[in-house]
């Protein structure tokens, strides 16, 4: 695959859907958050070409979108918007080696499936860059205190950027995905034999299957790119080692050739050792990470960022709901009573699970820090460098990275409200045609009025709900 990723439809810039000026604030091409690798031509020219191609494509799709929006129905547009949102979300979750912070990354390694990554990736990336949340470190599967430095470095060098994917999910087994390069896949749906409903269902299945495949392809492009850079660095360094023995100690003295060709966004051996030499196991995923993870506020237990983003509020439910026995009579309850409590600490069950993270000042590398290749370990007796505990800790909860939790609760409330209104409407109309009245064809006018009232109410609620949804998604997109 290598450096020819333009063949596949690129993950679209999430902000390209917005007409605002936030255009420059992209993830893939933004220089102020991207740790632009290399000095001079560190990043290959093909990548620059790729970026140009990306922005051209962005412009094209922008104008396309504007043209289309006048012709297609608003329902279709809603659907397209939703799909674009999902695709943007998936694109935000790619691990890119040149987007590193303090030896970790801005996106998860992949211990949990994509469907479970429902946090707001923009907020999480921002928190990581601001050093308020531990980065997503690449985990070690095992750890052994007896490993020598050389052995440890060898293991670290073999770490992938992302966990391997399950390419053939049962769920998508018989779903055609067509040509991933083309945006349109309606030709895969047989509109002559399927009902509207079936068509819609198939459309959403195909979309999911395509997104699954696309995401794998996108991440694999990043993996390949990472691997190539790692190999080329290794070759350059081993060549220079032959000529000058003490390469690691005198980088400044080494030839220009090295500085021009090496990718300085990749970590040097000192950084690798500093990170993983005394790792700890995350008590939830059982994987090994650098010691400075996030810690719970209540009981000071470690939790890796990948597990932290999995923890969230309970799904909306009624208080004291056993959720086994009485699901059926939910419609009888007042939807306003629905609640969704914050998560408890997984370790000590203290309500409202809160974490904090204290970065190691001497390890400030990557974005807004020293290039990872230029990392220097602190001197042994330099206490000030160990940890910047002077900074006030920032406390984070699952709500910090899911600001939409309240929207979701309200959505569920109005869904129940609508269901209750529908049920009442059906009940009333059943009464109207009940056998007792069948002799009398004339429906009493007050009953007819009541029916109209009920229907009106149902329509009103459904409109309200729609409006709420729209304003919700607008709020989201303006963020």
């Amino acid at each position: 695959m290598g450096n020819v990723p333009t063949k596949l439809e690129e993950p679209q810039n999430p902000s390209s859907r917005l007409k605002s000026s936030s255009f420059s604030n992209s993830v893939s091409g933004n220089s102020d958050i991207t740790d632009s690798p290399g000095s001079g031509n560190g990043r290959s020219s093909s990548q620059t070409k790729l970026n140009n191609a990306r922005s051209k494509k962005k412009n094209a799709s922008l104008s396309n979108g504007l043209l289309k929006s006048t012709t297609i129905s608003s329902r279709k547009k809603d659907q397209l918007d939703r799909e674009q949102f999902k695709e943007d979300h998936a694109a935000e979750l790619l691990v890119k080696y040149y987007e590193s912070v303090d030896g970790g990354f801005l996106a998860p390694f992949g211990c949990y499936s994509l469907e479970k990554l429902n946090y707001n990736p923009k907020i999480v990336k921002k928190l990581i860059i601001e050093r308020k949340l531990a980065p997503f470190y690449t985990p070690l599967q095992d750890f052994n205190d007896n490993w020598t430095d050389e052995e440890l470095i060898k293991i670290i060098d073999g770490l992938p950027l992302h966990a391997s994917f399950n390419e053939s999910l049962e769920e998508f087994e018989d779903i055609p995905t067509g040509d991933l390069k083309s945006k349109d896949f309606d030709y895969l749906i047989d509109s002559s034999s399927l009902s509207k409903r079936e068509q819609k269902k198939l459309h959403s299945k195909i979309f999911k299957a395509r997104l699954h495949k696309k995401r794998i392809a996108w991440q694999e492009m990043e993996n390949t790119y990472f691997l190539e850079k790692k190999l080329s660095n290794k070759n350059i360094l081993s060549k220079s080692k032959d000529s000058s023995e003490d390469m690691n100690n005198h980088i400044s003295n080494s030839s220009n050739d090295i500085l021009n060709n090496i990718d300085i966004s990749l970590p040097n051996d000192d950084l690798k050792l500093s990170l993983y030499q005394s790792g700890i196991e995350c008590p939830i995923c059982f994987l090994y990470y650098p010691k400075n993870l996030n810690y719970s506020k209540c009981c000071q237990q470690p939790i890796c960022t990948e597990c932290f983003v999995q923890i969230k509020r309970a799904l909306p439910h009624f208080p004291h709901d056993d959720n086994e026995h009485n699901n059926e009579d939910d419609s009888e309850k007042d939807p306003h009573l629905l609640i969704s409590e914050p998560a408890n600490c997984p370790y000590c069950a203290t309500p409202n699970f809160t974490i904090s993270y204290s970065p190691i000042a001497s390890r400030k590398t990557g974005i807004n820090g020293v290039k990872q290749f230029y990392y220097k370990p602190p001197k042994a007796n330099d206490d000030a460098n160990l940890s910047n505990n002077t900074a006030k800790p920032v406390y984070l909860t699952s709500d910090t990275i899911r600001p939409d939790w309240e929207d979701k609760l309200n959505k569920e409330r109005s869904r129940l409200q609508r269901r209750a209104a529908n049920a009442t409407a059906i009940h009333v109309s059943n009464q109207l045609i009940s056998p007792g009245r069948s002799e009398n064809n004339e429906i009493p006018s007050n009953l007819k009025e009541l029916e109209n009232q009920m229907i009106e109410q149902a329509i009103k609620l459904s409109l309200q709900d729609r409006k709420q949804n729209e304003s919700g998604s607008r709020k989201k997109s303006s963020k």
């Binding site: 992949g110 391997s164 939830i284 994987l287 999995q310 923890i311 370790y347």
Partner: protein, 152 residues
């Protein structure tokens, strides 16, 4: 994702290398998320000297979702119903991803030692238990002798 999560592999290894007294849990050959479990009845409980078979399944979302556990051996207990389903907070609302197969099975063993008829799953058993505790305990002992004898 395609393979078994490291956590499940490590938990299984540790269950073998550092077993819990009175409890066994072995993964099934063709499904490593499915465990065959035995729990010995706690001493001084009506289930003493009994060995109970259970099945435990780790759902896809484990450890974010609790394991599913069920008694296979018939048991007379106010918090365990005819189908072997168990009413235990840590299996439902109080599940935490920091809990493990090991801790869940220990909680079930503790439930055998202290039945709680005030939060019943098997209503008839709980009623008997509240009405006449000693005869309920006798019945539980009988059932243990009848159904939970260790296989030799």
């Amino acid at each position: 994702m395609s393979s078994l999560p490291k956590r499940i592999i490590k938990e299984t290894e540790r269950l073998v290398s550092d077993p819990v007294p009175g409890i066994t849990a072995e993964p099934h050959d063709d499904n490593l998320r499915y465990f065959e479990v035995t729990i010995e009845g706690p001493q001084q409980s009506p289930y003493e000297n009994g060995v109970f078979d259970l099945e435990l399944f780790l759902p896809d979302d484990y450890p974010m979702e609790a394991p599913k556990v069920r008694f296979l051996t018939k048991i007379y207990h106010p918090n365990i119903d005819r189908l072997g389903r168990i009413c235990l907070d840590v299996l439902k609302t109080n599940w935490s991803p920091a809990l493990q197969i090991r801790t869940v099975l220990l909680s079930i063993q503790a439930l055998l030692a202290s039945p709680n008829p005030n939060d019943p799953l098997a209503n008839d058993v709980a009623e008997d238990w509240i009405k006449d505790e000693s005869s309920a305990i006798d019945k539980a002992k009988q059932w243990t002798q009848l159904y939970a004898q260790p296989k030799k």
